[in-house]
């Protein structure tokens, strides 16, 4: 099978859908999983509620992030690449990653390993933000070119 841009975008779309399914399952099973994890694996009594809340609250930016990435990929598929709308989707994605990072860092108060999730999410947000900056420069350059007769 010959690989091309269209298939690459399709693969990315499938990955986004897969992550959405994972997040949906996580949200659906958050309560029993956190209860079991606290009691059996972590020996944390009384910390079920904060851990569960962390999962649910952090999933909100996760859903927004996945939706933005999905819409961005659909636009790429249509051929609309360097547009202001796509720039907004990237900005939204970066802020969602940073917000999730902050939430996990705050939740590290209850369970220290959340620090790693917080740092990873924050770093991802930083990478997306820098790519967004590059994207905005490309949009400005394209705009200049479009209005060169």
């Amino acid at each position: 099978m010959e690989w091309n841009r269209s298939r690459s975008i399709l693969l990315s779309l499938c990955a986004v859908v897969l992550f959405a399914v994972v997040l949906l399952v996580t949200d659906a099973l958050a309560v029993p999983l956190c209860m079991q994890a606290c009691q059996v694996f972590l020996s944390l009594e009384g910390e079920e509620l904060p851990l569960t809340l962390t999962v649910y609250i952090a999933s909100v930016p996760g859903w927004i992030c996945l939706y933005s990435l999905f819409r961005l990929l659909l636009n790429l598929r249509r051929g609309a690449v360097f547009t202001a709308v796509n720039g907004r989707y990237m900005r939204r994605t970066s802020w969602c990653c940073i917000l999730a990072g902050v939430l996990f860092l705050a939740a590290a108060w209850f369970w220290l390993p959340f620090v790693f999730a917080g740092i990873a999410a924050g770093f991802m947000g930083l990478i997306v933000r820098i790519v967004k900056n590059i994207f905005e420069q490309a949009i400005a350059m394209k705009d200049e070119l479009d209005y060169t007769i």
Binding site: D143, E144, Y147, T148, I149
Partner: protein, 76 residues
Amino acid sequence: MKAVGAMIVVNLDVMMARRKISAGELAERVGITPANLSVLKNNKARAVRFSTLEALCRVLDCQPGDLLEYVPDGKE
């Protein structure tokens, strides 16, 4: 008068009226789309290629100075 920044104004309408040529015909003979010609006429263009300017001068039988006018800062 509305205060605006300094700008280059494209006076295509004047030359088109003198040569009695329509926008559609001019666009076709110059080799640009009617949409791009409209962008040029309405002073929305950011830049003009020399090849486009040469084609406009050839079709309208004029000089670049007949088409382009510098308007200093503060005047419209």
